[in-house]
């Protein structure tokens, strides 16, 4: 398995590929403009998913906090995925109330065929 790690301002994004492309978020996302850091990594994960015909799993379960500016690049990516061919799963921890509230709202980006899906564990 090949993996890469990207860290900035207390946020670490780990990108790994095996059966799926998995992008794991750790720490806190509190930057003034988080998109500058997270968007290229999200795009890289999506590109890899398309290129290798793999599902992209964006895993937030280890994220402790994110500001609202972090949600912006995520929903733009989900909106883009909704209109494209890539398969995307957003995973969150439903035991954490803030994650449950934040991520259930993203179900509006799910597709009927579950190509784009929002899942809790």
């Amino acid at each position: 398995m090949i993996s890469e790690s990207f860290t900035e301002n207390g946020l670490t994004l780990e990108l790994a590929a095996a059966q799926d492309v998995v992008l794991t978020w750790r720490g806190k996302s509190t930057a003034r403009d988080p998109a500058a850091f997270v968007l290229p990594v999200l795009m890289k994960a999506l590109d890899q998913g398309v290129r290798e015909a793999k599902r992209v799993i964006i895993d937030f379960r280890n994220l402790e906090y994110m500001n609202s500016s972090t949600i912006t690049p995520l929903i733009r990516i989900l909106s883009m995925a909704q209109r494209g061919d890539v398969r995307v799963t957003v995973m969150y921890d439903s035991k954490l109330r803030w994650q449950e509230l934040s991520f259930t709202a993203l179900e509006i980006f799910e597709t009927d065929d579950k190509r784009v899906e929002i899942c809790s564990v």
Partner: protein
């Protein structure tokens, strides 16, 4: 900000009265210390994890706005963000104050429009979802979201209000009802 007992009851907090007052320089780096101070204050007063996270997020989003849009006179000393978190019977009130420029009427009109728009929804979840749809249509590289206040209403379960004082200070409040 992770601690056990997310959905345990808030221990006796419904009748407790206490206030945390902070005054910080309008620098992005100060947000970490704001979140830490609010979290410690709420934890020390018996708030459960879920309440604590909701109120910390609220304080942080309001403080972010204060830093972004406040008028600090090019770093003139004494111009700070003033934040308070007040435990009142059955509710927690977060208030953030910042100086505004006399010509900031456009920003204040936008703030007023956003607060009124959020209040127009019976369920803040609907407001949040509507805002997500709007933001999803904006260009991938645009930094603007306008999600902060609507997130405070929905995820922070808070009622928003604001006023401007005679000395050009904007005070934005978020009232979180304790269940």
């Amino acid at each position: 900000m992770t601690r056990a007992g997310g959905r345990r009851p808030n221990r006796g907090i419904a009748h407790r009265m206490s206030t945390l007052n902070l005054q910080v320089a309008p620098h992005w780096d100060e947000l970490d210390s704001i979140r830490d101070a609010v979290s410690a204050f709420l934890d020390g007063n018996g708030c459960n994890r879920d309440t604590c996270q909701a109120v910390v997020m609220t304080a942080s989003e309001l403080a972010e706005n204060a830093i972004k849009y406040g008028d600090y006179g090019n770093g003139r000393p004494g111009q700070n963000v003033i934040l308070s978190v007040a435990l009142q019977p059955r509710r927690i009130v977060v208030e953030v104050r910042n100086p505004v420029a006399p010509e900031a009427t456009v920003d204040l009109r936008r703030l007023d429009a956003m607060v009124q728009w959020i209040r127009g929804f019976q369920d803040p979840f609907q407001a949040y979802v509507e805002r997500l749809k709007v933001v999803s249509l904006v260009s991938l590289t645009s930094a603007e979201s306008g999600l902060g206040l609507v997130r405070v209403a929905y995820e922070g379960q808070a009622l928003l209000d604001f006023f401007v004082t005679e000395d050009s200070t904007l005070a934005v409040s978020a009232v979180h009802q304790l269940s």
